[in-house]
Each structure stands twice: as structure tokens, then as C-alpha cells.
């Protein structure tokens, strides 16, 4: 056939076919998306520090292991309150002359998703320690350590942020370990990663592939476990700082083992700390409002309280859901004001 023996026609046809398909499947959808899209009205713009931190996030290739997308499937519920939508990424534009738009959605979840990490883990002290050496706070972590983002100084200046590193992880580093500008920016970026709630009145789309509720079976076999799994809640919400053994980290996070708050009878103080955070003891880092940020329910708080009261050798009287509910109702009323 003439067509097959004419290189101009043959290669030309292949090229035109490919370009046509490219336009249909990539170029038009992409253009359509960037034209008919805007950030949610209540979305918070990245601060200057956070933007610099994002560039550090890009430079160090964090996207290799951390996604930033909540899919509309049930298993992704742990990473956000609602599935991600195009508007969530609309504010990302070309980063610089050299760097493309970085939506940083990622394709690998070797480490946890970071869409909502600013809510889940807002503590500056924890993030700095974790970046200096992840295994100080999460023993099983395989995340790289980033000690080159920190400086060592003999004397602290006024605005220096010191990181208290446990001795076994100092590896012979003398002096005070101080966070660099870059790592503070990086933490600012991580703190800024929060899912924007949909504007009022708009329900989020559902998560697909919902798991069937199996709790009814459990409830019958294990009385009175109407409460969720306290251990799992502890691991997901508290363990990063207070550690698996409940002993915390010296100079950063207080122990819960043998703690007077945990063992004592002042339930109101205990629940208040979980829900609203705590900053009464200068020898430890500030605790954020873990409960409020993560929207813990009274059931979940009760489970956590009881887990902490009965673990690591702690042996205090457990509390009931009603007691916690009463305090939580009060907190929710005041927190809204």
C-alpha cells in the first residue's frame, strides 16, 4: 500500500493520531480543570513561611513516601473528614521558574498521608524532634532523619528553638540542638496542611466501599465493650508523644504511667487536657487541643481515658461514658463561644 511505503504519510498519521488522543485525554481535561476551578471560599492561603516550607518538602522528595489525597473510599477516612475534591488543589500554581505546580498528591503511602496532618499532629516540639530523628518518637519508623536541618550551638540566642533530643539519639553531638529557619518553615508547612471544611450547607460526597458494621457481633460477645478500641485510639492520637510504654520523653512529653492526672480522680481536668490541650508545665512541650482538633467523641474519649488508667501498670478506677459526656457537653458549649 502506498500509505505504508511513504514515511511522511505513515509517521505523520501516527503523530496526528497520538496528538489528537493527547489533546482529548490530557490537554483538554487539564485546561478545563484549571479554568473552571477555584479554591473553596474559606480556604486558608499558605503563609510565606509555609510556602518556603513547601519548597523544602519538595526539595527533599518527601512526596516519594507521603501522599496528599483523601480518596472517596472508606479506607481513606482515617486521613480526612471528607474525600478530596478538585478545589482542594486549585490554589496550587506553578511554584517557580524551575519548579512545576506541586499538588504533591503522590503515588506511594510508605508513610502516612499528610492531607490533614496539621490537625492530627500540630505540635511544633513533636515535629521538630521527629524530623531530627523519627525514631526518637516512633520506634518502628523508617523515615529518614534530617539532622542537617538543625544546628548545634553552645549558647541559645533569644529566638532560637531548642530541640531536646534523648541522649541515645544525640550520637555524640555536643551543645544545644537548635532548629534552623528551614526546618521551622517545613514544620509551618506541615501545620498548615488541614482539610478545608466545605462551605455551610454543602454535604461532602460519601466514602465508597463502606465496611459493614460488625460492632453488633462484638457487643454481644464482649460486654461491656460498646466503647471503641481504646488501645487503637491511643496509638493513633496519643502514642506519638506519650510513647507506647506510656513513659513519654524526658524534656518533651510527660509520662502517663504513674501520672497524677491519669490516676487521680479529677476527671474534669483529665478530659479537659485531652480535649483542649495543656501548657501548665514549663519542663514539657505545649500540648495541642488533640481532642477538639480530631473531633473525638465522648465514646472515644472514655475509651482513651480508661485505656490510660489501666495500662503500663496504671491501675485506677475506670470511668463511665455518662461522666465523660457531661464534661464534654460543657467543653463543647464553651469551645464554641
Amino acid at each position: 500500500m502506498e500509505f505504508f511505503n511513504n514515511h511522511k504519510k505513515l509517521f505523520g498519521t501516527a503523530l496526528v493520531l497520538f496528538i489528537t488522543l493527547t489533546i482529548i485525554v490530557a490537554i483538554l481535561p487539564a485546561i478545563n480543570n484549571q479554568q473552571n476551578n477555584a479554591p473553596l471560599p474559606n480556604a486558608v492561603k499558605l503563609s510565606e513561611e509555609a510556602f518556603l516550607g513547601k519548597q523544602s518538602f519538595i526539595a527533599n522528595g518527601c512526596v516519594a513516601c507521603h501522599t496528599q489525597q483523601v480518596r472517596n473510599v472508606d479506607m481513606d477516612k482515617v486521613w480526612g473528614n471528607r474525600p478530596g475534591i478538585a478545589a482542594d488543589y486549585a490554589s496550587a500554581t506553578r511554584t517557580s521558574l524551575w519548579i512545576n505546580t506541586a499538588t504533591l498528591m503522590g503515588t506511594e503511602r510508605t508513610g502516612p498521608d499528610l492531607t490533614n496532618v496539621g490537625v492530627r499532629q500540630p505540635s511544633v516540639a513533636w515535629n521538630l524532634l521527629h524530623l531530627y530523628q523519627p525514631r526518637t518518637v516512633v520506634a518502628q519508623s523508617i523515615m529518614p532523619a534530617y539532622p542537617w536541618l538543625f544546628e548545634t550551638k553552645k549558647e541559645l540566642n533569644e529566638d532560637d528553638v531548642e530541640v531536646i533530643v534523648p541522649d541515645e539519639f544525640r550520637k555524640g553531638v555536643q551543645g544545644k540542638i537548635v532548629a534552623s529557619k528551614e526546618v521551622l518553615h517545613l514544620v509551618a508547612y506541615l501545620q498548615s496542611l488541614k482539610q478545608t471544611p466545605l462551605p455551610d450547607g454543602k454535604p461532602a460526597s460519601d466514602f465508597l466501599y463502606q465496611k459493614k458494621k460488625q460492632e453488633s457481633v462484638n457487643a454481644q460477645s464482649e460486654q461491656p465493650s460498646l466503647l471503641p478500641d481504646g488501645n487503637l485510639l491511643y496509638v493513633n492520637n496519643c502514642q506519638a508523644c506519650h510513647q507506647a510504654n506510656g513513659e513519654g520523653l524526658k524534656g518533651a512529653f510527660p509520662p502517663l504511667k504513674g501520672s497524677t492526672v491519669v490516676l487521680g480522680n479529677d476527671l474534669e481536668l483529665f478530659v479537659n487536657i485531652i480535649m483542649l490541650g495543656y501548657d501548665a508545665r514549663p519542663e514539657y512541650a505545649t500540648m495541642n487541643a488533640v481532642g477538639l482538633d480530631n473531633k473525638l467523641t465522648p465514646e472515644e474519649v472514655t475509651a482513651i481515658v480508661n485505656h490510660e488508667k489501666t495500662s503500663w501498670g496504671n491501675n485506677a478506677k475506670t470511668v463511665t461514658l455518662e461522666e465523660v459526656k457531661k464534661i464534654m457537653d460543657y467543653i463543647n458549649v464553651t469551645a464554641k463561644k
Binding site: 505504508f4 493520531l17 497520538f18 481535561p29 519538595i58 527533599n60 480518596r71 506553578r94 529518614p144 487503637l232
Partner: protein, 583 residues
Amino acid sequence: MENNTLLSETGIIITLVLIIIPVITALLIVIYKIYGIVNGLVRKRELEKFNEYFKGLSQEEVKQLEQRKRELEFALSNNELAGNIKISDSRGLIASINSAEELRFVEKKKKSQPRPYIEPKLSRLILWYLECAVFWLIFGTTVGEYVGIKFVAPDVDHISWLSFGRLRPVHTNAVFWGWASMAMMGLAYYVVPRISNAPLASIKTGFYSLVLINISVILGSITLMAGINNGGGEYREYIWPVMALFGIGIILSIWNFIKTIAHRSNKEIYVSNWYIISAMMFLLVIAVVAYWPGWQNGLGETIVQGYYMHQGVGMWFMLFNLGLMYYFLPQQLNKPIYSYSLGILAFWAQILFYTLIGTHHFIFSAIPWWLQTIAIVGSAGMVIPVVAGTTNFLMTFTGSWHKLSGSYTLPFYLIGIIFYFTGSLQGTAEAFRFTNLIWHFTDFTVAHSHLTMYGIITFMLWGFIYTLVPRLTGKEPSQIIVGAHFWLALIGLLFYTFPLMYGATLRGLMWMEGTKSFIESVELMAPFWLWRAIGGSLMWFSHILFAYNFYVMVKSKEKTVIPTSPAEILLAKEELEKQALTN
């Protein structure tokens, strides 16, 4: 209960079948070899038994045997027709005849075919491409090995330039743009002029292209390690000026090739050239679309990313390699391709379906649902070109299977073809929505990309290189070391991928279950990451052997050979006389 429902999912069943196929193929090759060895041993034992019996033969029996021997040995004297006229073989029809005397542990493989004439300058250009490619293979996989070790020992170093997030793209890009791309280009510089039956338009341009591509990969690796990258899309990590150098290199070569094809002395354009030229054109389109600054805001970036990374794999590496396969496989088997029209069908079907499937990397994401569905449909459509291509290659093999055991290059071809089938269809199975739930974001993707980029592309390239280089240099590697390279690479790949796929499935199920914390899924993967490091080490070691083989083919000194064939004797005589003259 859980297992039963899992095993009834189509995607899972397909994947399991696909995983088993290469294993069975490898087993068959092993069984075939072992059968040969055992058979030899059995016969030897039989012979010993007979020897005992022969010792006890009587005089009478011996006489009878001798008598029969004389009768059987009766033969014509071979000059009944010719009489006393001198016999000659003026066309050299009686070529060398190999004979085998002893039982061999390793079968003697067929030697490389006598080389056709290739312009020495062109041959140098091709070898330069391949040498650079081998360097990038060693570099890239050394980095990969190190990155794999970091999963097991995250504190092995604390140097910013060597941290995981920066080294991972160095590994992927070095093996993509360094190893595979340069090897493909080098081979194309042989294939395109040969099937056009015309000299290459410009050898110099070929060198410029090579230099540009090399500079691109060098600069790319350095900038990535220094923390300068394009903003985190896989295989799009080089910043645009670096990738532009690569693109210009490709433009030079494509100009070179098209000019060569335009001056072809045969009428038709062999299908290899369709694939090769298209792959190069498409790469340029992909690169321009993906790197053009000034667009891709918001999710646009992700849509383009899905398109880019998958077209990079399917339209550049796969299409190019298929083109090379359409040339080298018939060459190696010494017969035409089974069906030329199947090759053409696969060509158009590949373009049609492959272009659509990019976004299947972002299923369930915020990308428009219709685009995700198109990607899934396109992934299913990929069955057509893959089955067409595989059938074509395997049918070409049919009738020549006996050549497999007697060749040190063909096993690379076969494994490449098998993985082409299983690896590509595995991609289809992974794109189904349910399988995507389990496997997306896990190391299953990593295993898949190694099954394809390594199992398909790299194995094919090795086969082609072992075929071509001895033709250019006239030197062959030791077949035992080639065998070691083959088996280490194959076994290493299986050790690498299988544990990862198994562990990733467990991890995905754990995530779906939702009753364990995330960090427990990290702990769960620890043993599988160790296996990956072990498999990776085997693969890495096989590359060292490959590099050595390559060295032997290219640089080794001529062995002292005692001339035997008439040509050699004459050459040696001539040389000696020359020496005598100069002395």
C-alpha cells in the same frame, strides 16, 4: 472467609495467574536443563554396564561382530561418479562441523553469527552508546540498591545528598534516561540503517545526541541530589532545562533517523522503524506537554502527570523495545516474523489504548470520574496489543524452540516476552477499581514497575546487546558468565517482586480493615523489605557480571588463537610475511 472473597475477585485471579506464568517458564527451563544432565548421567551408567558385558564376550562372538561391522561399514568410495577429477567446494557449502566428545555440565551454546559488514565508525558510535548505557545501569542500580537498603536500615547515613527522598528519583531517572534510553538509542543506530538498507545520514550527529543525553542525565542526577527538582511527579523530577537537553538529543537523533529512512534503498518501511520513529516522536510530544511552563495549575498538574508517566513508559520504552524486538527476534531465529499484519495491528492498538490509560494512577482521586473510567477501559483495551504482540513473538518462536537451549541470547528474549505478557496484563488487573483499593499506594506498584521496566525492557535490551555487540567486535563473552548473569537477574527479580507483592497485599488489606494503626502496617512490611533488598542485591550483582561481559566483548585482548580455518591460516601467513618484511 476473607481469603475466599478475595480470591473470587477477577483482578486478583488474573494477577495470580500472571504471577505464576513466569515462574512456570523459569521452572520449565530449569527442568529442561536438568533433564539433559540427568539423561547424560543415566546413559553413562548404562554404558558402564555394557562395558562389563563386553569384557565377557567370547572369541566367536567377537568374530561375528567384526564380520558384521565390515558389512555395515561398506560404503561407496565417493568418487564413483567423479572418477579421478579433483573434488572442490568452490562455494564453501561445507561449513565447519561441530563435534561433541565428552559429557558437558554446561551445554555449548551457539556462537554469534558471522558479522555483516558495518562501517567501523558507525560501530564505534553504537558501542559508545552502549558503553554509556552500561555505566548508567551500574550507577542507577547501585543507587537503587542503596535506596532499598534504606528501608531496612534508615540510619545508614545522614547526608542530605544521599537522603531517601532525593536518591529515589536519582535511581529511577538514571535507569530510565541513562540505561534504558541510551541502550535503546544505541541499538536503534544499528537497526534503522540496516533495515533501511542505507548508510546512516550523519554519524557526527549521533555523537552530539549522545553527548546531550549524557549531560542531561549527569546534570539531572546532581541537581536531584542537591535538592533541585521539578516538584514531585514521578519520572518528571528533572527540572525542565535538564530535560530540554535530553529532548534536543532526541530531536537530533530523530532527524538523523528520518533522513536515513528517507534515503532507504528498499520500498517498504519495515515495521521496526514504525515503532522506533513513533516512540521518539511521541516522547517529544509527551515531554513538551508535561514540561511546558505556564499551565497545569491545580489538578491540571495531576492529570498531565498521569498522562506523562504512563506514556513515558508505554510510548517510549515499550514501543521502542517492541520495534527492536521485531528486528532482532527474527534475526536470532533466522526466520521471518510470524505475522507482519499482527505487528501492524499491535502498533495502532497500542497507540489507541495506551494513550488513554494514564489517569489509572489516580483512581478514586479528585480527578474527574469519567476520566478515571476511560483510563480503566483503556487499560482493559491494552489486552489487544499485548496479546497480539505476544502471540506474534511466540509464534515466531514456534518450530525453533530447540534453538532456545543452544543459545545464550534467546533466554533473555523469551523472558522479556513472557514478562511483556504478564507484566502488561498485571497493569490491567491493577487498574480495576477493587484491586486498586488493595494495592494502590502500596509497594505492589514498585513490584509492578520492576516486573515491567526490568523484566520486559531490561531483559530485552540485554538480549539485543548480547546479540549485537559480538557482531560488531567479533568477540564473545564467556557463556557461563552470561548464564550466571541471566539466572542471577531472573532469580533476583523474583525475590525482589514476589515478597513485595505478597506483603503489599497484606498491607492493603490491613488498611481496608481499619482496625490497626498505620505504623503496624509499616512493621508488617519489614521482612518483605528485607527480601526486596536481598533480591535487589542479586540483581545488582548480575549487573556487575553483565558489565564484565560487556567489557570482554568490547575491550578484551584477542586470545592467542592457533589458526585453523583457511582464512585464518592465510591471514596469519600474510601477517608473518609482513613482519618479515618490516624487520
